[in-house]
């Protein structure tokens, strides 16, 4: 049965007409340009200095625009893109193994469980090859073969080798490339950098994004900045779960503040839970550490068959009493089943009481067979650094006993809604990288986050931003406009209110409680009752926060608790929207698994006829009553298919 095309009620996504493969070229041809001599009259505000932000700031400055770039860290080089380990995909087909732009496009759409926009994903695949050229020219030290040419590996279950990498530090090397380009432009005077500066609100003038309000995190000074356009490249919201693989400072504040000023928030319930992280060890824990997925190439995942055996050391559990559940359930993919499926399977066995380690929240990843087969030196050569990290954190030797792993929140596919130009529904406000919703659908493939951040920053926004700028008179709005004074006052009031509560509970205690609730009710498996209950509890927790939080110190100083308080206050609002989005989406797809929607064998069940849309939420003035807008996804090239890994 073919589904009836339905009417979207989101703003026009401005997807160019014509065949998929020529949309981007055509769009660039149809796009407006700014005369080189006029570019310096335009001021562009870039918030965030990760791959997307640093790449955009540097590239726009090179074109001649005046750029201001903001980051909360003490240097733009520390943005969280730096922590990405695995690699970056690109359709270079250097391995002659059948890769192409079209294949990378198709894999990304399918991996996203058919919930991403075709035109955006195709463009991503199209510019991927330019990214590698750009990075190599910057001196990024990718892995090479003896012939001196670039090496590739296969990653995340892909059937072609299209992943470029720099040992386990690909994110670091790519970010340093972008950071160096940014510093080059700072030295040339094109970019003014504001480190240790946090964006606390967006200023909208006559419906257009024209500036931001920031707080200097050293002096506490609030300041207004006016620009002709605002670019948010502020990353994802994984820290709503408190524990995640994100850096401690990652937050939703910039995008959430923009949402409350009118920007639609799309698909907030799509979160990626990575199956191979080091489990939680105790209530003091502050973050989770990822262990590269590559470990699953040689490790076998198991738990005891019987609950009673869970307390015993692994060595005392004989082979016949072990349940290698991934091999049992997914014989063809086994231990290499995709991220969402492996994560959920681990949760199921732990829910059955068969988990291992503290709190029963862990499964074994056992290398004994691989060591027997290949010898310890081979395993040491492949994974030595990972075994070392594991040893530092847990004190355990994974050569002698199995590793314990457990899934952890890793990436968020949802974000602010953007059109093909990466502009939100608020004119002038553009959103890049993990902060937007656009390319990964309901699940992101390994090695695609770095690709998207750099595509948006180096190639997409520099080509699409002039479409907006050309409609604007440069410098028409200054901080002298009344809207700046109004928003500045609101931000100041909010800071004062946080400090004035002077209650008994620490900010972290609220954050931890929210995180546990989200993990439990809006994590790997979600149910109607659980989500409804979570919404009620989040509201109560939010009330309690504003009644009983204790933020020491003043606003006019270096105050890390105050910074955290502002972020947690926003997570306490955002968490509700996430649960509502998960509640509304009555299907299972990608990172979103609703227990009511599964096959008899416990696999995810999509409902394409009713839910093949982007859920874009509008702020109505009341955080408990957002309005849902739907962008129906029209697929011209691909056909819906069910992912199967049996």
């Amino acid at each position: 049965m073919t589904s009836i095309p339905r009417q979207s009620d989101t703003p026009d996504a401005r997807i160019p007409s014509g065949p998929l493969a020529s949309k981007w070229s055509r769009h660039k041809m149809d796009s407006r340009l700014i005369n080189p001599a006029n570019r310096r009259r335009y001021h562009v505000i870039v918030v965030g200095s990760g791959l997307a932000g640093a790449a955009a700031a540097a590239s726009l400055s090179e074109q001649g625009y005046k750029v201001s770039c903001f980051c909360y860290q003490d240097s733009p080089r520390r943005a969280h893109s730096i922590a990405a380990q695995g690699g970056i995909n690109a359709a270079k087909n250097y391995q002659n193994d059948g890769d192409s732009v079209h294949r990378l496009f198709y894999d990304t759409i399918k991996g996203g469980d058919f919930r991403a926009r075709e035109a955006n994903v195709y463009r991503l695949a199209e510019v991927s090859a330019n990214i590698i050229d750009q990075c190599v020219a910057q001196g990024v030290p990718f892995a090479r073969e003896y012939g001196g040419l670039l090496a590739n590996r296969s990653f995340g279950g892909a059937q072609v080798s299209r992943t470029f990498y720099a040992a386990g530090q690909t994110g670091q090397q790519l970010l340093l490339g972008a950071y160096q380009a940014l510093e080059k432009e700072i030295a040339a005077g094109g970019v003014k950098m504001f480190p240790r500066t946090e964006m606390l609100d967006l200023v909208v003038v006559d419906g257009h994004a024209k500036g931001i309000i920031t707080r200097n995190m050293v002096t506490g000074e609030l300041a207004a900045h006016a620009g002709d356009a605002v670019l948010l490249a502020t990353g994802g919201y994984g820290n709503v779960f408190f524990l995640s693989t994100n850096a401690m400072g990652c937050n939703v504040t910039a995008t959430w503040r923009a949402h409350k000023r009118g920007a639609l928030f799309a698909n907030p319930c799509y979160t990626q839970i990575h199956p191979t992280c080091i489990p939680v060890a105790g209530s003091y824990q502050s973050k989770l550490t990822l262990m590269s997925e590559s470990l699953r190439n040689d490790g076998r995942v198991w738990v005891p068959k019987r609950k009673e055996d869970c307390g015993k050391p692994a060595s005392e559990i004989p082979e016949e009493d072990r349940d290698y559940y991934l091999e049992r359930k997914y014989p063809s993919f086994g231990n290499l089943a995709p991220r969402d499926i492996s994560s959920r399977a681990a949760k199921e066995v732990c829910d059955e009481g068969r988990g291992v380690g503290p709190g029963g929240l862990g499964v074994y990843l056992d290398f004994a067979d691989a060591i027997k087969r290949l010898g310890e030196p081979a395993i040491r050569e492949r994974y030595g650094n990972l075994f070392q990290i594991y040893h530092e954190i847990t004190g355990e030797d994974a050569y002698r006993q199995p590793m314990r792993i457990f899934p952890a929140v890793h990436y968020t596919m949802g974000g602010l809604w953007v059109d093909y130009n990466l502009m939100s529904n608020v004119p002038g406000l553009h959103v890049l990288g993990e902060a937007n919703f656009s390319d990964h659908g309901a699940n992101r493939l390994g090695a695609s986050a770095l690709m998207q951040g750099l595509a948006d920053g180096y190639f997409v926004v520099p080509a699409t931003l002039p479409n907006y700028l050309a409609t604007q008179k440069p410098g028409a709005v200054t901080t002298g406009h009344a809207a700046f004074a109004d928003v500045l006052r609101e931000v100041d009031d909010r800071v004062s209110r946080l400090l004035a509560v002077n209650g008994k509970r620490t900010v972290t205690s609220f954050h931890r409680e929210l995180g546990l609730l989200m993990w439990d009710r809006c994590g790997m498996a979600r149910s109607r009752e659980g989500l409804q209950d979570a919404i009620a509890k989040i509201r109560a927790l939010r009330d309690e926060f504003w009644r009983d939080v204790k933020v020491p110190g003043t606003g006019a100083e270096f105050n890390q608790q105050l910074e955290m308080a502002g972020r947690v206050a926003d997570f306490l609002e955002f968490g509700e929207l996430m649960c509502l989005d998960a509640l509304e989406r009555e299907e299972s797809c990608g990172g979103h698994f609703r227990v009511e929607h599964q096959t008899g064998e416990g696999e995810a069940l999509r409902h394409d006829d009713d839910y093949s849309y982007v859920a874009a939420w509008e702020f109505t003035g009341d955080v408990t009553r957002p309005r849902l807008c739907k962008e129906w996804l029209a697929y011209e090239e691909v056909h819906f298919a069910t992912r199967s890994y049996k």
């Binding site: 590698i132 910057q138 090397q173 340093l176 060890a281 847990t394 180096y458 190639f459």
Partner: protein, 251 residues
């Protein structure tokens, strides 16, 4: 475990600082060093006291934000790890631990244990980049790089810019930081055209930022969490000498 902490407290850049003593009781041995500080801070807040400010972000040893001098050693002196990767099982019950910021004239204290390392960004602005405009890059495989050269560049590029090298040096020299970037970029063919300019520009920016001179004692190498080799400093010296000579001869 129970510990006594002596922690550097300093309200802001201009205020005088001092070591304050705290008892850290019932710290789980599996906690990380920064989680131990989190626990101490939660208790300080509950008691109505000002928590200890310290820089941290990724907590997995790659962002370079954490910057503690622990018992006189940057990142605790374990070698090969950052402050955030230290765990309490490395310490003994009842031990006294002195925690100070990374100290250097070029790294003024922002508050307590957090310092301002923007001088490192200014050094990069002096030439720690390759001048390539977005869009003007040639095909990536057009310039093969011998694997040993690529590996050398990669080993130097591993620097996370934390500043432990500066904090470990009695002269607070930034030589290892500069050497790492010069070695990385001057080794690869893409970086060759700006080789001289880079060495001169970065060394001059380092001097202007107020870092001290290198006397080749390699305390920096011992403190480096990413184990940047001392050989990088020799390369920087060579490149700088070569560039200076050319500059002099060019008059």
């Amino acid at each position: 475990m129970n510990l006594t902490l002596k922690v550097w407290r300093q309200k802001n850049r201009n205020a005088p600082g001092h070591l304050a003593e705290y008892e850290a009781r019932d710290i789980p041995v599996d906690a990380s060093f920064l989680e131990m500080l989190d626990i101490v801070n939660e208790r300080l807040i509950e008691k109505g006291e000002d928590p200890i400010a310290f820089d941290h972000d990724c907590r997995e040893g790659i962002c370079g934000m954490c910057s503690l001098t622990i018992n006189g050693k940057p990142h605790g002196g374990k070698g090969g790890v950052t402050s955030c990767q230290l765990h309490m099982r490395e310490f003994e019950d009842g031990q006294t631990i002195v925690i100070e910021p990374f100290r250097a004239r070029a790294f003024p204290v922002a508050k307590d244990l957090a310092v301002d390392r923007s001088a490192f960004d200014r050094i990069i602005q002096g030439g720690g980049y390759i001048s390539v405009r977005t869009g003007s890059a040639p095909e990536a495989n057009a310039a093969p790089i011998a694997k040993d050269v690529a590996d050398r560049a990669f080993a130097a590029a591993a620097c996370i810019g934390c500043g432990a090298c500066v904090a470990a040096c009695k002269n607070a020299s930034a030589m290892l930081f500069v050497a790492a970037k010069v070695t990385h970029l001057n080794s690869v063919p893409q970086g060759r055209p700006e080789r001289d300019r880079r060495a001169l520009g970065m060394v001059r920016a380092m001097d202007e930022a107020g870092f001290g001179n290198c006397t080749n004692q390699y305390e920096c190498v011992a403190a480096c969490p990413k184990q940047i080799p001392a050989e990088a400093i020799a390369r920087l010296n060579r490149d700088f000498a070569r560039a200076s000579l050319k500059e002099t001869l060019a008059g």
